[in-house]
Symmetry: C2
C-alpha cells in the first residue's frame, strides 16, 4: 500500500510522503476522504461533460477552470485506499487490495486521461474537449466497473 501512497503523494508534488497515519487517524476517515474527493472530482468532471455533451452552452473559460480542477483532484482520492479500509461505509471491492498493481495502473490511466482533458480544455477547441472527455469517461467507468460494488 505504501507504494500507492507514495505515488499519490508524488503526484501532488510532495518531495517526501508522511506515513498514512499522518493523513488518516482511522480507516473510516480514509473512506470518508476518498469518497469526498471522488464526489468533488465527479462534479467538476460533469461540468465539462455537460458542455461536451451539449447540455449547456460551451464556454471555454468554464471548461478550462473545471478541467484544471479535475486534474488536481484526480491525484487525491487514492491516498484514501489504505489497508484496513475495505469494509465499512464503502463500495470498494476487495480487488483494490488483492490486485493492487492493476488498481494502481487504472488510477494512473485515469490521471493521464484527465491530464489530457486539461490540455484539450486549454486549446478552447470543443471537438478536442469532446474527444478527451470521452476517453476520460471510459477510464472512470472501467475502474468503477472493476473496483466499485453496485
Amino acid at each position: 500500500m505504501n507504494r500507492l501512497v507514495l505515488a499519490a503523494a508524488a503526484a501532488v508534488g510532495f518531495a517526501t510522503a508522511l506515513p498514512v497515519a499522518a493523513q488518516f487517524q482511522k480507516p473510516e476517515d480514509a473512506i470518508k476522504y476518498r469518497k469526498a474527493a471522488m464526489t468533488v472530482m465527479a462534479n467538476h468532471f460533469g461540468r465539462v461533460g455537460a458542455m461536451a455533451n451539449g447540455r449547456v452552452p460551451f464556454d471555454a473559460a468554464t471548461a478550462q477552470a473545471n478541467a484544471e480542477l479535475v486534474a488536481t483532484l484526480s491525484k487525491l482520492p487514492f491516498a484514501g485506499f489504505v489497508e484496513g479500509s475495505a469494509t465499512g461505509d464503502t463500495k470498494a471491492k476487495p480487488e483494490i487490495w488483492t490486485e493492487a498493481d492493476k488498481f494502481k495502473a487504472a488510477q494512473a490511466k485515469m490521471q493521464e486521461d484527465v491530464a489530457k482533458l486539461n490540455v484539450a480544455a486549454k486549446t478552447g477547441n470543443l471537438d478536442q474537449i469532446k474527444a478527451a472527455f470521452g476517453e476520460a469517461g471510459k477510464s472512470c467507468k472501467s475502474c468503477h466497473d472493476n473496483y466499485r460494488k453496485e
Copy 2:
C-alpha cells in the same frame, strides 16, 4: 444567491459563470458537494496543522503541497449553498441565507487567510506557517460557530 455563485466562480478563475442548475441538478447534490469539498479541504488543512502543532515532523514540501491544495479547495464549497438547500442532510444554519452578506464576508475572510497560509508555506518557515495556520483556523471556527449546527 447568484452573487455568491459568481464570486465563487470568479475565485476559481471563471470568466463567466453557468447558472447553478448547470452544476447541481437537485438541492441534495449541492449539499453533498459542499460537504465533500469541506471534508477534503479539512483533511489537507489538518495535514498542515499536524506540522504546525508539532504532531508530525515538519516537512516544507509537504506543507507547501497541502497549503496549495487548501487554497484551491477553499474556493469550492460555497457554490453548494444554493437556495433551497437549507434542509436535508446538512448542518447548515438558516442564517447562511438570511444573512447572506455576512456569510459571504466570512467566506472571503477564510479564503484570504488560507491564501496567506499558502504564502507562508512557500517560505518554508515553520514559525510563519504556525502563525498563518492559527489565523486560518480561527476563520474556520468562527464560521462554523456562526453557520453550522451542532
